[in-house]
């Protein structure tokens, strides 16, 4: 060892010569890296420094923070946010675990259908459950009596809406962790005569503990950073997310908005870090030799599970049905006749049908450009040769968006792009900035999807191609992309749906000509036009759901077309 080290010192170190491919790959990665710097790192930096400045731009240290924490009303929001997020996390994780348990460990019928139903909330803006709750439990709601005098406007409403909004995310994670169970562990436990309860707590729960932890942190982050539900149903109950909005849009107090953003960034970053650690451990639990668990029919248990799954499905579909009903009713609660009156968006404030078309345009652009940027970036990180530090830095940048709440990102964009000295200032209020912010906001999950697909490719494709003297882009176009096409479709659909439903970042960035459907929902609700808001929300749902169905059939077609070479 020491001799070898001495050898290194005495002999000249070989400096590998970069090939044309290497130089091109580095240049491409540089371009995408600069994109992430401009669309993420710099805005965040500007926002952080803004939180340390006064109105006139002079550095004041932590004075803004001191002011913030000594304003009781603002500091109170921290408690409220933590309270809402904690209660939501507990309820959602319990509901989601039971649901996932029913889908993986019982023999109920229609599992595929129920699983699709749980994905409904992903297809609507987080404002929509709030609107449904107004119609159900509002002052003149359909079943207000059930609340026994409590008001839906406040923590109760927010928590119900957040549970609706976060449920699919938790269910996806927990289903994954429950389906990697090893049936041999259960056989061993049974042969040792452990009771069912004991098996549940010594095999089942430990087996999916990382999934549960991960789900809890994801739900907590979503709930604490969500802005849609508290905006619609929160009433006087202030939380951090609505504070940012009020400080910026209401009082034009940008510095204080920046301070609240930084405060909101803390739980999000923490949750993100814990999630990364846990994800790594989850992978280690997977054993190639595990025998998958096949649930056995048990009549009573299966019936109970079916009942539960149906109840949750009714809750999810019911919320949507109420919105659709509200959208069709002429003038609730005085004229209950049905019609398309509320779909005449053009006669209402909020952007009209143009907002809807803008949203579709924005979603298509986001899906198209986002997929290209994200997949190419992931490819360069994963398959690049040499340039270790550059690739590590890029990977870090790609993971960052996950820890940044949409509102924070949007506000950071105001500071960065709206600055008079920024040559990119012309982007403000344009379609381009909406697309850029949305791609960046949803970058991490797409990046991870792409990485997972790329890691499944043989690591030596590139080595073989370069030994055959073929340029890397040829292999990329002819092998990598075709083989990863399912993942590429997944990424584009993910970006499309999120671009349709997102409110948080774009709320600060849209302009008079670039109003969006999801923002229109918010503004119409704000103006008291709740029924048209519900109608627009449902338009978003139908569009997102339609695209999902298209994606489903597209994937099926692709699978059939390529089954000759896909290894099953």
């Amino acid at each position: 060892m020491s001799r070898a080290a001495a050898e290194v010192l005495s002999a000249p170190i070989v400096k590998p010569k970069a090939s044309r491919d290497d130089r091109m790959m580095r240049a491409f990665m540089g371009v995408i890296g600069v994109y992430l710097l401009v669309s993420l790192a710099l805005p965040l930096y500007v926002m952080l420094s803004k939180s340390l400045e006064d109105h006139d731009g002079a550095f004041v240290g932590i004075a803004n923070y001191i002011e913030y924490f000594s304003t009781p009303a603002l500091a109170y929001s921290i408690n409220n946010s933590l309270y809402i997020a904690t209660v939501t996390t507990v309820i959602t994780v319990v509901l989601a675990f039971t649901f996932a348990y029913a889908l993986t460990r019982s023999c109920i019928p229609f599992k595929g259908l129920f699983k699709s139903i749980t994905m409904i909330p992903i297809l609507v803006p987080s404002l929509l459950p709030g609107i449904a709750l107004v119609y159900l439990f509002g002052n003149q709601g359909l079943i207000t009596g059930l609340l026994m005098g409590n008001s839906i406007y406040g923590p109760i409403g927010i928590v119900i809406a957040e549970v609706f909004f976060t449920l699919p995310h938790a269910i996806i994670i927990i289903i994954t962790s429950l389906s990697i169970a090893d049936s041999r562990l259960y056989e061993a436990a049974i042969s040792l005569r452990a009771s069912k309860l004991r098996i549940f707590f010594t095999v089942t729960i430990p087996g999916c503990r990382y999934g549960l932890i991960s789900a809890a942190f994801v739900v907590f982050t979503l709930a604490i950073t969500d802005f849609g539900a508290p905006k619609v149903i929160g009433g006087d109950f202030n939380v951090l997310a609505t504070d940012i909005y009020k400080q910026v849009i209401g009082q034009q107090n940008f510095e204080m908005g920046a301070v609240v953003s930084v405060v909101l960034l803390i739980p999000a970053v923490l949750a993100f870090m814990v999630d990364r650690v846990v994800q790594r451990k989850q992978v280690a639990l997977l054993s190639a030799r595990a025998v998958p668990l096949e649930p056995q029919p048990k009549r009573g248990f299966d019936l109970v599970m079916l009942g539960y799954v149906v109840l949750v499905s009714i809750f999810l579909i019911g919320m949507l049905a109420v919105c659709q009903y509200a959208a069709l009713v002429k003038f609730y609660p005085y004229d209950l006749s049905l019609g398309l009156h509320n779909y005449r968006f053009d006669v209402m404030d909020g952007g009209g049908w143009d907002a809807y078309y803008n949203s579709i345009k924005m979603a298509l652009y986001t899906a198209f450009f986002g997929t290209i940027v994200v997949f190419s970036g992931a490819y360069l990180v994963e398959k690049g040769r040499g340039f270790r530090h550059g690739r590590a830095a890029f990977q870090f940048l790609a993971m960052m968006p996950m820890a940044v709440p949409g509102l924070v990102l949007g506000l950071a964009y105001i500071f960065f792009f709206n600055h008079p000295d920024n040559p990119l200032g012309f982007l403000y209020h344009t379609m381009a900035i909406l697309v850029i912010s949305t791609i960046t906001h949803f970058y991490t999950v797409s990046h991870l999807t792409a990485l997972t697909a790329l890691k499944q490719l043989d690591a030596e494709f590139e080595a073989v191609a370069s030994s055959l003297k073929q340029p890397f882009y040829k292999t990329f176009v002819r092998v990598t992309v075709p083989v990863c096409l399912p993942a590429i479709l997944d990424i584009s659909i993910y970006l499309f749906v999120n671009a349709m439903t997102t409110v948080s970042a774009v709320i600060f960035l849209y302009g008079p000509d670039t109003n969006l459907a999801s923002v229109a929902v918010l503004n119409m609700d704000d103006a008291g036009d709740i029924a048209p808001a519900a109608a627009m929300g449902m338009m978003i749902f139908y569009t997102a759901a339609g695209v999902r169905v298209l994606h489903y059939f597209g994937s099926r077609w692709l699978e059939r077309r390529t089954q000759a070479w896909r290894v099953r």
Binding site: R3, V8, K17, A18, R385, E460, W565
Partner: protein, 368 residues
């Protein structure tokens, strides 16, 4: 041994002073090696010995920290893979799954100013060569592992590279297919006369295929030699232990040409080791003689059979003796011999350790 090795002139590939560091860990330590045109060389060693690292350095996939690689007289030390001249086959085949077999083989022939008809002709020729004609339209996943590896081989040699690199090409295959493919790869290499380096951890593979074997351990070359040299005259105790089966017995030098093993004194070549030096005496089980031994012969001692292990074509006997003390020798006895002599557990017999088969290594050997 082979003609290629005796070919005069410059080596085709010259590696000198190669070191590869991964952080503080040295995966290759000062490796120097020459390979001649048309030779089939195996890098053999346990996992983690650096054999694949060396291959990847030669290919330019993971370039060495220091040292030079020269191919056909040119210094290629710092060149990226695309600017070197080699074809490579990996254990995982690395066939492009979405392309037909013919497209895979043709991949390297594209953009070379070859007409489509020429490419098609060359592909057919190559498929013929690897014994898979008529399979061009299939996809890799529709072929068996052995067939896929032949396609990978065809793809690698399609562009007629000067050097063929094989990274454990047979390790992912079933035992029978592996043995069969050994011969095919070897005869193909002979026919084409292409300089070939194969990395393997399978000693049988190396012994049957290679013209020369480079035995490696802990990032260093332990021995370079023909299969016979490596087997018969292992240069270090590591090689002796790694290749084949070997009895290792502690002993000490008792004057020139004599070593002691317990109370027993053996005549052997002591290679100028000092009197009294602690050594390890090594002898292969199949070299120990129990048939037609008389007490007057050299290196003979009486022993008891204290264990017999049936291993198919032969039986491995464990021989204990008062004179050798705690050291017990293993001897491989053919089934024929067993039948003739009707040897059973507990039998006493005379054992001869032929002088020419004894090898002496300095110090003690630790082997797992």
């Amino acid at each position: 041994m082979s003609e290629a090795q005796q070919a005069p002139g410059e080596p085709y590939l010259r590696i000198s002073g190669l070191t590869k560091m991964f952080g503080p860990f040295a995966a290759l330590k000062d490796i120097s090696l020459e390979i001649f045109e048309g030779e089939f060389v195996c890098f053999l060693g346990p996992s983690g010995c650096g054999k694949t690292t060396l291959l990847r350095a030669i290919a330019g996939l993971d370039i060495q920290t220091t040292g030079t690689v020269e191919q056909a007289g040119c210094d290629i030390s710092a060149l990226p893979p695309a600017e070197r001249d080699f074809g490579i086959v990996f254990q995982s085949y690395a066939l492009f799954p979405n392309m037909s077999v013919a497209k895979n083989v043709a991949y390297g022939l594209e953009n070379r100013k070859m007409s489509k008809a020429d490419i098609r002709r060359r592909v057919n020729e190559l498929l013929e060569l690897v014994g898979l004609p008529e399979q061009g339209d299939k996809y890799p996943s529709q072929l068996s592992g052995g067939q896929q590896q032949r396609i990978a081989l065809a793809r690698a040699i399609a562009v007629s590279p000067g050097l063929l690199l094989l990274d454990e090409p047979l390790s992912a295959l079933d035992a029978k297919v592996r043995v069969h493919l050994r011969h095919e790869v070897k005869s193909l290499q002979r026919r084409l006369g292409i300089t070939t380096i194969m990395v393997t951890h399978d000693q049988e593979e190396a012994l049957t295929m290679a013209d020369r074997i480079v035995v490696m351990d802990h990032g260093k070359i332990e021995q370079i030699g023909t299969p016979l040299e490596i087997y018969r005259e292992p240069g270090t105790s590591f090689v002796a232990d790694f290749i084949g089966t070997m009895n290792f017995v502690p002993g000490s030098v008792r004057g020139p040409g004599r070593v002691s093993m317990g109370e027993l004194e053996l005549v052997c070549d002591t290679d100028g080791l000092a009197d009294g030096a602690h050594v390890t005496i090594a002898v292969r089980p199949e070299d120990i003689v129990v048939q037609g031994v008389t007490a007057e012969d050299e290196n003979v001692y009486p022993a008891q059979v204290c264990g017999l292990e049936f291993l198919g074509s032969f039986v491995r006997a464990e021989l204990a003796s008062e004179v050798t003390g705690e050291s017990r020798l293993l001897a491989d006895l053919s089934i024929n011999l067993m039948r003739h002599q009707s040897i059973a557990e507990g039998d006493s017999l005379l054992v001869r350790v032929p002088k020419e088969h004894i090898r002496i290594y300095r110090g003690s050997v630790s082997h797992e």
